[in-house]
Protein backbone atom coordinates (compact mmCIF):
# COMPACT_ATOMS: atom_id res chain seq x y z
CA UNK A 1 0.00 0.00 0.00
CA UNK A 2 1.27 3.42 -0.80
CA UNK A 3 0.82 6.54 1.17
CA UNK A 4 -0.87 8.49 -1.61
CA UNK A 5 -4.07 6.49 -1.49
CA UNK A 6 -3.46 3.83 -4.15
CA UNK A 7 -2.44 0.24 -3.65
CA UNK A 8 0.14 -1.61 -5.70
CA UNK A 9 -2.54 -2.44 -8.27
CA UNK A 10 -3.40 1.21 -8.73
CA UNK A 11 -6.78 0.86 -7.01
CA UNK A 12 -8.00 3.60 -4.78
CA UNK A 13 -7.93 2.78 -1.13
CA UNK A 14 -9.21 4.77 1.76
CA UNK A 15 -7.33 4.63 4.99
CA UNK A 16 -5.67 7.04 7.32
CA UNK A 17 -3.31 8.26 4.62
CA UNK A 18 -6.09 9.56 2.43
CA UNK A 19 -7.90 12.75 1.78
CA UNK A 20 -10.13 13.64 4.73
CA UNK A 21 -12.94 14.44 2.33
CA UNK A 22 -12.90 10.88 0.96
CA UNK A 23 -12.66 9.46 4.46
CA UNK A 24 -15.58 11.59 5.57
CA UNK A 25 -17.62 10.36 2.62
CA UNK A 26 -17.05 6.75 3.64
CA UNK A 27 -17.82 7.57 7.26
CA UNK A 28 -21.02 9.32 6.24
CA UNK A 29 -22.07 6.35 4.14
CA UNK A 30 -21.42 3.92 6.97
CA UNK A 31 -23.26 6.16 9.40
CA UNK A 32 -26.23 6.29 7.06
CA UNK A 33 -26.17 2.51 7.02
CA UNK A 34 -26.50 2.46 10.79
CA UNK A 35 -22.93 2.12 11.94
CA UNK A 36 -21.94 4.14 15.03
CA UNK A 37 -19.49 6.46 13.43
CA UNK A 38 -19.04 10.17 12.92
CA UNK A 39 -18.00 11.78 9.66
CA UNK A 40 -14.91 13.38 11.09
CA UNK A 41 -12.61 12.93 8.13
CA UNK A 42 -10.03 11.23 10.30
CA UNK A 43 -9.43 7.57 9.65
CA UNK A 44 -9.38 6.47 13.23
CA UNK A 45 -9.85 3.16 14.96
CA UNK A 46 -13.63 3.57 15.08
CA UNK A 47 -13.66 4.00 11.34
CA UNK A 48 -11.44 1.03 10.78
CA UNK A 49 -13.67 -1.11 12.99
CA UNK A 50 -16.78 0.07 11.19
CA UNK A 51 -15.26 -0.71 7.80
CA UNK A 52 -14.27 -4.16 8.95
CA UNK A 53 -17.74 -4.82 10.29
CA UNK A 54 -19.29 -3.56 7.07
CA UNK A 55 -17.22 -6.04 5.07
CA UNK A 56 -18.34 -8.84 7.33
CA UNK A 57 -21.97 -7.76 7.22
CA UNK A 58 -21.90 -7.56 3.45
CA UNK A 59 -20.15 -10.92 3.18
CA UNK A 60 -17.42 -9.41 1.09
CA UNK A 61 -14.65 -11.89 0.24
CA UNK A 62 -11.52 -11.74 2.35
CA UNK A 63 -8.64 -10.63 0.12
CA UNK A 64 -6.01 -13.26 -0.66
CA UNK A 65 -3.21 -13.24 1.85
CA UNK A 66 -5.38 -12.01 4.71
CA UNK A 67 -6.79 -14.23 7.41
CA UNK A 68 -9.65 -11.87 8.05
CA UNK A 69 -11.00 -8.54 6.92
CA UNK A 70 -8.94 -5.46 7.64
CA UNK A 71 -10.24 -1.94 8.08
CA UNK A 72 -9.12 -0.60 4.72
CA UNK A 73 -11.56 0.60 2.11
CA UNK A 74 -10.45 -0.98 -1.15
CA UNK A 75 -12.23 -1.29 -4.44
CA UNK A 76 -14.53 -4.05 -3.23
CA UNK A 77 -15.67 -2.03 -0.25
CA UNK A 78 -16.06 1.23 -2.08
CA UNK A 79 -17.83 -0.59 -4.92
CA UNK A 80 -20.32 -2.09 -2.51
CA UNK A 81 -20.88 1.29 -0.86
CA UNK A 82 -21.45 2.87 -4.25
CA UNK A 83 -23.87 0.13 -5.18
CA UNK A 84 -25.81 0.60 -1.97
CA UNK A 85 -26.06 4.33 -2.51
CA UNK A 86 -26.71 4.32 -6.21
CA UNK A 87 -30.25 5.50 -6.69
CA UNK A 88 -32.48 2.78 -8.00
CA UNK A 89 -33.51 3.90 -11.44
CA UNK A 90 -37.12 4.57 -12.00
CA UNK A 91 -38.66 1.69 -13.86
CA UNK A 92 -39.02 2.53 -17.50
CA UNK A 93 -42.56 3.35 -18.39
CA UNK A 94 -44.31 0.43 -19.94
CA UNK A 95 -44.40 0.82 -23.69
CA UNK A 96 -47.67 2.25 -24.77
CA UNK A 97 -49.67 -0.22 -26.74
CA UNK A 98 -49.79 0.72 -30.35
CA UNK A 99 -53.28 1.94 -30.95
CA UNK A 100 -55.12 -0.07 -33.47
CA UNK A 101 -55.11 1.76 -36.74
CA UNK A 102 -58.20 3.69 -37.49
CA UNK A 103 -60.25 2.77 -40.46
CA UNK A 104 -57.58 2.35 -43.08
CA UNK A 105 -59.72 0.37 -45.44
CA UNK A 106 -59.21 2.98 -48.15
CA UNK A 107 -55.54 1.98 -48.25
CA UNK A 108 -56.06 -1.76 -48.02
CA UNK A 109 -55.78 -2.28 -51.75
CA UNK A 110 -52.55 -0.32 -51.98
CA UNK A 111 -51.07 -2.05 -48.96
CA UNK A 112 -51.71 -5.44 -50.55
CA UNK A 113 -51.16 -4.64 -54.20
CA UNK A 114 -48.54 -6.51 -56.21
CA UNK A 115 -48.07 -6.22 -59.94
CA UNK A 116 -49.61 -9.06 -61.92
CA UNK A 117 -47.45 -12.14 -62.24
CA UNK A 118 -46.88 -11.72 -65.98
CA UNK A 119 -45.75 -8.11 -65.50
CA UNK A 120 -43.37 -9.07 -62.71
CA UNK A 121 -41.89 -11.78 -64.87
CA UNK A 122 -41.48 -9.42 -67.82
CA UNK A 123 -39.79 -6.76 -65.69
CA UNK A 124 -37.50 -9.29 -64.05
CA UNK A 125 -36.51 -10.55 -67.49
CA UNK A 126 -35.97 -7.01 -68.71
CA UNK A 127 -33.83 -5.86 -65.84
CA UNK A 128 -32.30 -9.14 -64.82
CA UNK A 129 -31.51 -10.29 -61.36
CA UNK A 130 -28.47 -8.54 -60.00
CA UNK A 131 -27.20 -10.55 -57.09
CA UNK A 132 -28.83 -9.48 -53.89
CA UNK A 133 -30.14 -6.18 -55.19
CA UNK A 134 -33.61 -5.56 -53.89
CA UNK A 135 -35.29 -6.12 -57.23
CA UNK A 136 -38.60 -6.62 -55.53
CA UNK A 137 -39.65 -3.62 -53.48
CA UNK A 138 -41.93 -5.56 -51.19
CA UNK A 139 -43.67 -3.40 -48.64
CA UNK A 140 -43.58 -6.27 -46.18
CA UNK A 141 -39.79 -6.49 -46.52
CA UNK A 142 -39.21 -2.74 -46.19
CA UNK A 143 -38.23 -0.83 -43.07
CA UNK A 144 -39.98 1.19 -40.42
CA UNK A 145 -43.55 2.35 -40.14
CA UNK A 146 -45.89 2.47 -43.06
CA UNK A 147 -46.74 5.80 -44.65
CA UNK A 148 -50.35 6.15 -45.66
CA UNK A 149 -51.26 9.36 -47.42
CA UNK A 150 -54.06 10.91 -49.41
CA UNK A 151 -54.14 14.21 -51.28
CA UNK A 152 -57.61 15.06 -52.61
CA UNK A 153 -58.86 17.86 -54.82
CA UNK A 154 -62.58 18.50 -55.20
CA UNK A 155 -63.53 19.42 -58.74
CA UNK A 156 -66.96 20.51 -59.89
CA UNK A 157 -68.23 18.73 -62.93
CA UNK A 158 -69.74 22.01 -64.11
CA UNK A 159 -68.66 25.49 -63.19
CA UNK A 160 -71.28 27.09 -60.95
CA UNK A 161 -73.42 29.57 -62.80
CA UNK A 162 -72.89 33.19 -61.99
CA UNK A 163 -75.74 34.65 -59.97
CA UNK A 164 -78.24 36.60 -62.07
CA UNK A 165 -77.73 40.36 -62.13
Amino acid sequence: MTTDGFDVNGDLVVDNANDPVAVAAVQGALRDLGYAIEASGAFDGVTSDAVRQFKIDQALPVPPGLAQHDGVVGPGTSGRLNALFTPVPEPAPAPQPVPPPPALQDWAGLISFRAPTAMQAALNARFGIFGTSPVIHAIEAAQGPVNLDYYPVRIAACRPMAPPR
Binding site: L104, I129, H137, I139, E140, P145
Partner: protein, 193 residues
Protein backbone atom coordinates in the same frame (compact mmCIF):
# COMPACT_ATOMS: atom_id res chain seq x y z
CA UNK B 1 -64.35 20.50 -65.17
CA UNK B 2 -61.77 22.54 -67.03
CA UNK B 3 -61.84 22.95 -70.77
CA UNK B 4 -59.18 21.80 -73.14
CA UNK B 5 -59.57 24.97 -75.15
CA UNK B 6 -62.59 23.76 -77.04
CA UNK B 7 -64.74 21.53 -74.90
CA UNK B 8 -65.24 20.74 -71.28
CA UNK B 9 -63.08 17.84 -70.22
CA UNK B 10 -64.51 14.68 -68.82
CA UNK B 11 -63.04 13.34 -65.61
CA UNK B 12 -61.27 10.69 -67.67
CA UNK B 13 -59.83 13.36 -69.96
CA UNK B 14 -58.53 15.32 -67.02
CA UNK B 15 -56.90 12.32 -65.39
CA UNK B 16 -55.23 11.46 -68.68
CA UNK B 17 -54.05 15.05 -69.01
CA UNK B 18 -52.52 14.84 -65.57
CA UNK B 19 -50.77 11.57 -66.37
CA UNK B 20 -49.36 12.74 -69.69
CA UNK B 21 -48.15 16.02 -68.20
CA UNK B 22 -47.27 14.86 -64.75
CA UNK B 23 -44.28 17.19 -64.45
CA UNK B 24 -46.62 20.14 -64.90
CA UNK B 25 -48.65 18.98 -61.90
CA UNK B 26 -45.80 18.81 -59.39
CA UNK B 27 -43.06 21.17 -58.32
CA UNK B 28 -40.20 20.10 -60.53
CA UNK B 29 -36.47 20.71 -60.68
CA UNK B 30 -34.46 22.27 -59.26
CA UNK B 31 -36.24 21.74 -56.00
CA UNK B 32 -38.35 18.64 -56.29
CA UNK B 33 -39.07 15.86 -58.78
CA UNK B 34 -38.98 15.14 -62.49
CA UNK B 35 -40.74 12.19 -64.09
CA UNK B 36 -39.60 10.75 -67.42
CA UNK B 37 -39.80 7.44 -69.27
CA UNK B 38 -37.03 5.15 -68.02
CA UNK B 39 -35.92 4.01 -71.45
CA UNK B 40 -36.87 6.38 -74.28
CA UNK B 41 -37.01 3.52 -76.77
CA UNK B 42 -39.28 1.34 -74.69
CA UNK B 43 -41.05 3.33 -72.06
CA UNK B 44 -41.92 6.46 -74.00
CA UNK B 45 -44.11 4.36 -76.25
CA UNK B 46 -45.69 2.67 -73.26
CA UNK B 47 -46.06 5.66 -70.93
CA UNK B 48 -46.90 8.29 -73.52
CA UNK B 49 -48.40 6.52 -76.53
CA UNK B 50 -49.72 8.92 -79.10
CA UNK B 51 -53.23 7.59 -79.52
CA UNK B 52 -53.72 4.91 -76.89
CA UNK B 53 -53.87 4.77 -73.13
CA UNK B 54 -50.62 3.99 -71.39
CA UNK B 55 -49.53 0.39 -71.32
CA UNK B 56 -49.16 -1.25 -67.95
CA UNK B 57 -45.55 -2.21 -67.51
CA UNK B 58 -44.19 1.18 -68.55
CA UNK B 59 -41.31 2.20 -66.31
CA UNK B 60 -40.95 5.80 -65.24
CA UNK B 61 -37.77 7.26 -63.84
CA UNK B 62 -37.92 9.92 -61.17
CA UNK B 63 -35.18 12.46 -60.57
CA UNK B 64 -35.33 13.63 -56.98
CA UNK B 65 -33.89 17.03 -56.29
CA UNK B 66 -33.07 18.94 -53.15
CA UNK B 67 -31.81 22.51 -53.30
CA UNK B 68 -30.98 22.07 -56.96
CA UNK B 69 -28.98 18.88 -56.43
CA UNK B 70 -30.14 15.57 -57.85
CA UNK B 71 -29.84 13.66 -54.58
CA UNK B 72 -31.47 10.43 -55.63
CA UNK B 73 -33.35 8.65 -58.38
CA UNK B 74 -36.02 6.04 -58.30
CA UNK B 75 -38.10 4.01 -60.68
CA UNK B 76 -41.75 3.17 -60.67
CA UNK B 77 -43.71 0.90 -62.91
CA UNK B 78 -47.17 1.61 -64.21
CA UNK B 79 -48.61 -1.49 -62.65
CA UNK B 80 -52.28 -0.82 -63.28
CA UNK B 81 -54.17 1.51 -65.59
CA UNK B 82 -57.89 2.10 -65.96
CA UNK B 83 -60.04 5.04 -67.10
CA UNK B 84 -60.54 6.22 -63.51
CA UNK B 85 -57.10 5.53 -62.05
CA UNK B 86 -53.55 4.45 -62.56
CA UNK B 87 -51.12 2.96 -60.12
CA UNK B 88 -47.36 3.20 -59.69
CA UNK B 89 -45.37 0.52 -57.91
CA UNK B 90 -41.82 1.28 -56.90
CA UNK B 91 -39.10 -1.04 -58.10
CA UNK B 92 -35.37 -1.49 -58.52
CA UNK B 93 -33.85 -0.71 -61.92
CA UNK B 94 -30.22 -0.80 -63.06
CA UNK B 95 -29.99 2.92 -63.77
CA UNK B 96 -31.88 4.26 -60.78
CA UNK B 97 -31.10 1.53 -58.27
CA UNK B 98 -33.51 1.12 -55.42
CA UNK B 99 -36.37 3.51 -54.85
CA UNK B 100 -36.31 5.16 -51.41
CA UNK B 101 -39.69 3.67 -50.62
CA UNK B 102 -41.35 0.36 -51.30
CA UNK B 103 -45.03 0.42 -52.04
CA UNK B 104 -47.74 1.71 -54.29
CA UNK B 105 -49.30 5.02 -55.26
CA UNK B 106 -52.60 5.51 -57.04
CA UNK B 107 -53.85 8.50 -58.98
CA UNK B 108 -57.50 8.66 -59.81
CA UNK B 109 -60.90 10.15 -59.29
CA UNK B 110 -64.19 9.15 -57.75
CA UNK B 111 -67.57 10.79 -58.15
CA UNK B 112 -68.62 12.90 -55.21
CA UNK B 113 -71.93 14.38 -54.29
CA UNK B 114 -73.56 17.24 -56.14
CA UNK B 115 -71.94 16.63 -59.46
CA UNK B 116 -68.42 16.81 -58.20
CA UNK B 117 -65.39 14.60 -58.45
CA UNK B 118 -62.61 13.97 -56.00
CA UNK B 119 -59.29 13.68 -57.80
CA UNK B 120 -56.56 12.30 -55.65
CA UNK B 121 -53.28 10.59 -55.21
CA UNK B 122 -53.13 8.01 -52.47
CA UNK B 123 -50.01 6.14 -51.35
CA UNK B 124 -48.97 3.29 -49.10
CA UNK B 125 -45.25 2.76 -48.70
CA UNK B 126 -42.34 2.14 -46.34
CA UNK B 127 -38.70 3.08 -46.57
CA UNK B 128 -36.85 0.50 -48.62
CA UNK B 129 -33.52 0.18 -46.82
CA UNK B 130 -32.20 0.81 -43.35
CA UNK B 131 -30.42 3.88 -44.67
CA UNK B 132 -33.66 5.15 -46.16
CA UNK B 133 -35.34 4.47 -42.84
CA UNK B 134 -32.68 6.47 -41.02
CA UNK B 135 -33.68 9.33 -43.31
CA UNK B 136 -37.39 8.59 -43.08
CA UNK B 137 -38.33 12.10 -41.99
CA UNK B 138 -36.55 13.50 -45.03
CA UNK B 139 -37.96 10.88 -47.38
CA UNK B 140 -41.56 11.23 -46.28
CA UNK B 141 -41.24 14.98 -45.84
CA UNK B 142 -40.10 15.39 -49.42
CA UNK B 143 -42.91 13.18 -50.66
CA UNK B 144 -45.41 15.18 -48.62
CA UNK B 145 -44.24 18.43 -50.21
CA UNK B 146 -44.38 16.85 -53.63
CA UNK B 147 -47.98 15.72 -53.30
CA UNK B 148 -49.06 18.97 -51.70
CA UNK B 149 -47.73 20.60 -54.84
CA UNK B 150 -49.78 18.11 -56.86
CA UNK B 151 -52.93 19.26 -55.08
CA UNK B 152 -52.08 22.91 -55.53
CA UNK B 153 -51.17 22.63 -59.20
CA UNK B 154 -54.12 20.45 -60.11
CA UNK B 155 -56.55 22.88 -58.51
CA UNK B 156 -54.79 25.80 -60.17
CA UNK B 157 -54.97 24.11 -63.54
CA UNK B 158 -58.68 23.48 -63.22
CA UNK B 159 -59.44 26.96 -61.95
CA UNK B 160 -57.42 28.63 -64.66
CA UNK B 161 -59.06 26.63 -67.42
CA UNK B 162 -62.68 27.35 -66.81
CA UNK B 163 -63.33 24.87 -64.03
CA UNK B 164 -63.85 25.05 -60.30
CA UNK B 165 -61.62 23.15 -57.90
CA UNK B 166 -60.81 23.26 -54.23
CA UNK B 167 -58.05 21.61 -52.24
CA UNK B 168 -59.31 19.17 -49.62
CA UNK B 169 -57.53 18.35 -46.38
CA UNK B 170 -54.59 16.04 -47.07
CA UNK B 171 -53.74 13.02 -44.95
CA UNK B 172 -50.18 11.88 -44.31
CA UNK B 173 -49.58 9.55 -41.40
CA UNK B 174 -47.17 6.86 -40.33
CA UNK B 175 -48.47 3.72 -38.65
CA UNK B 176 -46.88 0.75 -36.96
CA UNK B 177 -46.35 -1.72 -39.77
CA UNK B 178 -46.98 -5.02 -37.95
CA UNK B 179 -50.29 -3.67 -36.71
CA UNK B 180 -51.34 -2.52 -40.15
CA UNK B 181 -50.01 -5.68 -41.73
CA UNK B 182 -52.08 -7.88 -39.46
CA UNK B 183 -55.29 -6.25 -40.56
CA UNK B 184 -54.78 -4.96 -44.07
CA UNK B 185 -51.96 -6.80 -45.82
CA UNK B 186 -53.76 -9.42 -47.87
CA UNK B 187 -51.85 -9.84 -51.13
CA UNK B 188 -53.44 -12.10 -53.70
CA UNK B 189 -50.48 -12.23 -56.09
CA UNK B 190 -47.22 -13.99 -55.30
CA UNK B 191 -43.89 -12.32 -55.85
CA UNK B 192 -42.08 -13.62 -58.89
CA UNK B 193 -38.47 -14.20 -57.82
Amino acid sequence: MPTDGAATMTAENLLETVRCNLNDFVDGSPSEYNFSPYDPFIDTAAWLPVFLPAFPGAVVSIDMFSSGINVDDGSVVLAEAAPDHWLFSTRWTPDDGGHPVSGNRQFGFVPASAGEFIFYTRGADRTTSQLDNALAATVFGAAHRLWLSFQRRLAAFVNSNGGSAGIEVPVSNRYDWPTVQDTYHRPTVAWVP
